[in-house]
Amino acid sequence: MYTSNVVIGLPGSSSKELKPVDLKWPEEGVSVVPDWVYTSQAIYDREVERIFHGRTWNYVALEAELPNPGDFVRSFVGPTPVVVSRDKAGQVHVFENRCAHRGVEFCRKARGNTKEFVCPYHQWTYDLNGDLIGVPFRRGVKGDTGSGMDKDFKLEEHGARRLKVQALHGVIFASFAADMEPVESYLSAEILKDFEVVFKGRKLQIFGQYRNELPCNWKLYHENLKDPYHGTLLHAFLITFGLAVAGSRSMMYADPSGRHGTLASAKPKDMSVVGAETRKEMRSFRDDLKLSDDRVVSYVREFDSEWSVTMQTIWPNLIVQRELNTLGIRHIVPNGPNSMIMIWTMFGYEGDSEEMRRIRFAQGNLMGPAGFLGIEDNEALKFLQEGVRRSPTERGILRLGSGNGTGTSVASESALRAMFAQYREVMGL
């Protein structure tokens, strides 16, 4: 586990951090963000209750990870461990990874195939849809009076807690809320369109997973991908090779609710579209940066889309990455106010040529915990969390651009403001 507390300073090392805060949003509204949304345990607890366990669809797995009956993966809804399984009839189920008896997190393997789940402690047994099917010595030990379960105990009342499930184009979502609208309407039309570019009608081939812990609040990851401003300033790679750069075509779409977004950009044919003035503003622009092997940044057109890059932030725990030809899911697992775990599932498509697979692998070097861009994001978010925890100042500002919602310039924070507007509503802040 990351030793973020040791590195950053123990909780409470700054006098502000453990001080109770009056959870009242500043009068200026969403152009100001109070630090306590990133540091307060009370806020985190409310987020788990109202957002991750509330009326949201949470990503849990890809169907391609569990193609066969009996396949399962361990996953999370918010910080809550769940099991995703496929039953004998092919139906996908999601249930809490917790034994009804004493609370043991019974599924220990990251993935596998099984007929049933047996809690290792007292061997209570669950089937593939989470129903309790066996309790040892339920009727008592023969000859021992007063042993076994009381007569009123019914197996069917003690199954693992089941979540509502819907798979859309091979992507499995789950919700603690029983009355959720279909995922399609939850996403909204525009978000669904770019989501379908990646997933609709194509069978995925899973390349593998990696996991990292980021010592930052989980919302910052959404914010980072609703913030085109940083993309064109922080990332020398993006700028210099024109993957996303001020002056080229881009959009930061925010859905009508403000919770989801698509950060989209089109790779220009060459960098001459970017004027000298714009280049000067970007300190990370490097004329001297040349690649010996440019497969890392060479886009092979394969999608029916005007964008070469779309990064979708799907509230509350999913990022869909289409960065040129490297494709992946980023699954956010919040881990307290100061930490989050990211599970990356990278994939291509069944039927990809060997050459295409290698292009995807090569471009994979851009993203992830060792990616040319990924490292910079992770570092910046860590620095941000350190700043809000340790400095006596209490707020940040979001004043670039105007309005709350979709932005068409990189110098705008309108999508971030839209996210916070809906966040305040859900959180009652």
Partner: protein, 170 residues
């Protein structure tokens, strides 16, 4: 954990011992270069047509090809070394590599296959020294003159949950 090509073959004890010593010398040079030297020298440990991969053990066990870092050919290593040194933003840090338990797996066709444990310690400026990765190198060496070069290095780490990021080469 099986990786095709890295099967154990019976080797004459004396030969295995000599080759193991050569590989240990190689590891010493490689680790010293990463820990103390210039990153520009790092690609020099590889052949032009090398494969360099860093991946989690869970991927290897599931038979999945993903690389956290995936570099095919020395040029991709050069680009990474250049980016790390010149363009990328990350907090200053020191790394130390330790290798042990070198096992020569098989030899033939001009190639030597070996497996070694590695331990990667990271020290951030304000923090303690932490174990950043515990892993294994699966190496394919070829000889160029009297010198060993890596035709393939697969760094397979047990430390599934990476602490934020992995900025420098393993």
């Amino acid at each position: 954990m099986n990786i095709a090509g890295y099967e154990i073959q019976a080797l004459e004890t004396r030969v295995a011992r000599e080759v193991r010593a050569e590989i240990e010398d190689f590891h010493n040079e490689y680790c010293n270069t990463l820990d103390l030297g210039d990153l520009d020298d790092w690609p020099g440990f590889f052949t032009d047509d090398c494969l360099y991969l860093i991946t989690a053990r869970e991927n290897v066990e599931a038979g999945r090809p993903l690389g956290l870092v995936w570099a095919e050919g020395k040029n991709m290593l050069r680009d990474r070394a250049y980016a790390i040194k010149n363009t990328m933003m990350y907090a200053p840090r020191y790394l130390q590599h330790f290798t042990s338990n070198v096992k020569v797996l098989n030899m033939g066709g001009g190639q030597i296959r070996a497996r070694s444990n590695y331990l990667l310690l990271q020290t951030l400026v304000e923090g303690p020294t932490t174990i950043h990765q515990a892993g294994r190198y699966y190496d394919t060496f070829v000889k160029q003159g009297s010198r060993l070069l890596l035709k393939e290095r697969r760094c397979v780490y047990d430390t599934t949950l990476i602490a934020n990021d992995l900025a420098l080469p393993v």
